[in-house]
Every structure is written in C-alpha cells, then in structure tokens.
C-alpha cells in the first residue's frame, strides 16, 4: 500500500462515546459503496496535519454487510505522537480524510468449532465487526471484555442488546479480573482464542493458552504498536542515495516518506511484515519494536521494520 492507492472519504458523524474514545463514521466522497471487508480488518487513516502527515491503523467496527460507510473508534492516547490528537481535536464532521483499503490481519478462523474473543479497552473495535460476522451463525462464541470502569465500556449497549449473555464484562474499578486459567483450561477441542488490547493482556492470554497446551495455530492476537519515540538517528538509503534524519518523535518510515521515498506497508504497526527492509550496513544497534520478526532474526540485524523500529549508533544503511 502507498498513498497513491488511498480512498477519499468524508467524516459523516463523530460521537464521543467514552471519556477517551471517539466514534467516527466515514463515507466515500463520491457517495458510492466502500470496498468490502471481513471482521477484524483495519484501515490506515492518512491525516495531513499542518506540520506533518500521520498514518495510523484503526480497526473497522462497522458491519461488514454495510458498505455505505465505515466506522472506527479512536482512543485519545496520553503519549500521542499526534495522530490520535489530530483525530480528536482537528477532525470535524465534513472533514476530508484519505484511507487505505481494508486489510485483515486478524481474521476469524473459518473452521473453528468455537470462538473466544477477549478485548481490553479500545481493543474491542475489531470484535464489534467480527461479532456481526458471527451473529446468527451456528458456531458458538463468547466475548470477554475488560475496561477500567463502566463509563469506559465503548459499544457495550449495542453488544449487550444483540449478544446478551455471550458478553462477559470485567471492570477494573470493581476489582474484576479475567480468570485466564479458568477460561482457557476448559474450552472444547477446536476452540480458537482471539485477543486485542494492551500488551499486558495479550501476553497474559497467549502465555496462559500455551501453558494450557493450546497450539499457536489456535491463538490469535492483534496489537498495533504506535511507533515508539526514541533518540534521533540517521539512515542512508542506498538505492535512493539519500540521507534521512529521524527525529525523536517521528518513525523511520515517516522520515523516509517525508524524504519522498515510498515504503510499501499494510499495517504501520509492526504486525504484517510488509515493510520489512534489508539492512545493508550497521555500525550500532537496531531497536526492534515489531511483533513480526523472530527473536533470531532480530538478533541477526539483517532486517528492520521501519514502521515501528529504530536504531542507535553511527551508521545505518538500508536497501531502499
């Protein structure tokens, strides 16, 4: 994906649904249907701010059967690099945005005999669309949804009214916590578990599932890392013969794009592997922040995911 392939959309509605989350409704500028997608898909929203361009991934939460508009939920991040603040503060009804076509890196397993969905906070968004796909089907499913306190439970009313007691709520404020061992040690053969939310929740679920004997092929998770900030560094792009300066609050990918060089991407969150770039020379250390490369590949230092990863040291030469 690159910016030449984006779709022009207009913001049709904005609703503040929790103290931190705004719900945006987007429709094609030309009034037509948007591309079809399946539950779990995300889009990249391109935000052209005054001083810089943000491209953030957001899960689609609208019904995959309703293509006249897309809906996304955007949580205002405390340590925002600007993207979520731009969405919250600068985007208004009537604003134009560009979005990339939907991509699904978090799809439901089609032959599962049961689905267990576990959401933390704004991690509910991909499940809202997946539940549309699951509702009315023959495969059993249940949602376990953990939030700070009742006022933070985005989309709960909609989910409750449709899904009833398939929705299990956990409020930190009331001292609730998910009994991961109890939940994952008593699932029938052929169950798949899906988790989306904070890193701590994802690791609790994946580690508990593995200790209960679940194979990796039955464990699914998605977490879009925002590109972490870090020290400034420089990268030399060998094929373009360009030196790129990466400031502390900008990602390597963003800096490369600002220099006019396109990097192919799908998720911009360290998940999909699409932007994997060869490291030709390195005098220093790579700071891998992605969830894609294996630990062994990270240690080799021959590849980097410029969407979220950075570098320290004297020299970094990339095959771009």
């Amino acid at each position: 994906m690159n910016d030449a392939q984006t779709l022009a959309v207009e913001v049709k509605a904005i609703e503040q649904i929790t103290p931190l989350i705004k719900h945006f409704t987007l429709a094609a500028v030309d009034g037509g249907d948007l591309p079809a997608f399946s539950g779990g898909s995300h889009i990249i929203v391109v935000m052209r701010g005054a001083s810089r361009v943000h491209r953030n991934p957001y899960s689609l939460l609208s019904s995959p059967r309703q293509l006249s508009h897309y809906e996304i939920g955007v949580r205002r991040m405390e340590e925002s690099r600007g993207g979520s603040h731009f969405m919250h503060d600068s985007v208004q009804v009537g604003s134009s945005l560009e979005i990339a076509h939907p991509v699904n890196l978090f799809g439901l397993d089609k032959i599962a005999r049961k689905h267990v969905l576990i959401a933390g906070g704004v991690g509910i968004t991909p499940f809202v669309a997946q539940l549309e796909d699951l509702h009315g089907g023959t495969v059993p499913y249940e949602l376990h949804y953990s939030v700070r306190s009742p006022e933070h439970a985005a989309f709960l009313d909609t989910l409750r009214s449709r899904e009833g007691d398939r929705v299990h709520m956990y409020y930190d404020s009331e001292g609730h916590s998910i009994d991961f061992e109890g939940l994952l040690s008593r699932q029938p053969l052929g169950t798949h578990v899906y988790v989306c939310g904070p890193a701590g929740l994802i690791s609790r679920v994946t580690n508990t599932a593995k200790s209960c004997g679940w194979p990796n092929s039955h464990i699914h998770w998605e977490q879009f890392s925002a590109p972490p900030m870090g020290d400034a560094f420089e990268a030399f792009l060998a094929r373009s013969q360009l030196t790129v300066h990466v400031p502390p609050d900008q990602s390597l990918m963003e800096s490369i794009e600002a220099a006019g060089v396109e990097v192919p991407y799908l998720c911009r969150g360290g998940v999909c592997g699409f932007c994997q770039t060869r490291v030709l020379e390195l005098d220093g250390e790579l700071e891998h922040n992605d969830h894609f490369l294996s630990d062994a590949d990270k240690a080799k230092g021959k590849s980097i995911m410029p969407c979220v990863s950075r570098a320290h040291g004297k020299r970094l030469v990339l095959d771009l």
Partner: protein
C-alpha cells in the same frame, strides 16, 4: 505413468511425547501399541503427573495374539484409562465421543497401519485438530483404503496396484494421491481407453 511423486501421500514420523499438552489421547492398532509404550515412557520421565490425564484406546489388529498384553503393559506404566475394542469401527465410535468431550490442550497420538491412522485423523480433523496437536507413526500393514472417483465407494484393505472397485466393479489404478478427508487413496479406472487391457496385478501394499 499416473503414480509419480505425489505430495499428498502422508509421511509419518516416529512418535515422540509432546509434554506441552495437558491431556494425552492415544490410539493404537496391533503393533502400534509398542510405539505408545515408548511415548508413555517419555511422558513418565518428563511429566509423570500427565499419565493421569492420559487415556488409550486399543484394537488388537490382524495378529491379535502377538499384542494381547499391550493393554496390561500400558496399565503398568501408570495409565488407568485403557479401553480395548474388538474392531476399528467400535474404537472409532468411542473415539468420537471422547473427542466431543475433550478440551483444548489435548494431544493425539496414533500408531498402527496407515488406514487406521487415516481414519483416526479424519475424525480428529472434524474436531479442528491440526498437525500441531496430532502425531502419528505407521506400523503394520500398508494396505490402502481406495476411493473410487467414479462411484465414490471406498474399497478397504487394498494390497495391489490395481483393484476391482467394491462399488462399481471397475478396475481401478491405485494412485498415491491421498485425501485426508476421505482417509483414502484415489482410484481411477485403469482400462478406460482400452477396455479389458489391464496391467499385471502386483501386491505392493503389504
């Protein structure tokens, strides 16, 4: 001609214990019991408490006398839930009910003739078990189940390169093309172009 290096032909490895699993479900036919005993030894050494979550379903196989004490020996390793069946069909009936009440974290071990492995895997597949959860070792006859592509009948216990279909009586060439869903090799009419001209029949799947 038609029998070439077809990739769907299953390849089995010697069974090893997977102590990452919480429950161990073991199936054996005839000489397969020896492979289970080897795996049980590994489990006893690495995670002895897992023997309490282990159950074995056994069928004597062709040479029943040679494997008559398998159940007792499995008992002696520390597995209390050992069930012995008269034939593969009744073992599979029970296997289905066991799968239906089994939990995530179960590992399946199957040892015996390839046709037995195939039938067990076909059922496990219906329960969405995959290669991360199933291990199989081939021991005993390599006689094949052959699925007729013309009348869809499966002919059992085929030892020869060509076979007369039990359903439509066509002469079928037994290919290496294997279907996990049918737990059978594909059989296609061998004399379609020159009726009655059959290649020599040879016993190849012994």
């Amino acid at each position: 001609m038609l029998i070439t290096s077809i990739k769907s032909k299953p390849v089995y490895e010697p069974l090893r214990a997977d102590v990452g699993g919480r429950y161990h479900l073991m199936l054996a036919s005839g000489p397969g019991g020896e492979a289970l005993l080897r795996v049980l030894g590994e489990i006893r050494d690495a995670a002895p408490q897992a023997l309490q979550n282990t159950r074995a379903l056994l069928v004597p196989g062709a040479d029943a006398a040679a494997h008559s004490n398998t159940a007792t020996r499995i008992n002696e390793v520390g597995v209390t839930d050992v069930r012995l069946f008269d034939d593969v069909a009744s073992l599979l009936t029970t296997f289905r009910t066991v799968l239906d009440e089994s939990l995530m974290g179960t590992r399946l071990y199957v040892a015996g003739p390839e046709s037995f492995i195939g039938l067990a895997m076909k059922l496990a597949l219906e329960f969405d078990m995959n290669k991360d959860e199933i291990r199989a070792e081939e021991l005993g006859t390599s006689a094949r189940r052959v699925y007729c592509v013309h009348c869809r009948t499966t002919t059992e216990d085929v030892k020869t390169n060509i076979v007369n279909c039990a359903g439509c009586q066509r002469w079928l060439l037994v290919r290496d093309h294997y279907s996990r869903r049918h737990a059978a090799y594909m059989g296609v009419m061998v004399d379609a172009e020159a009726p009655g001209e059959l290649p020599p029949m040879r016993e190849v799947y012994l």
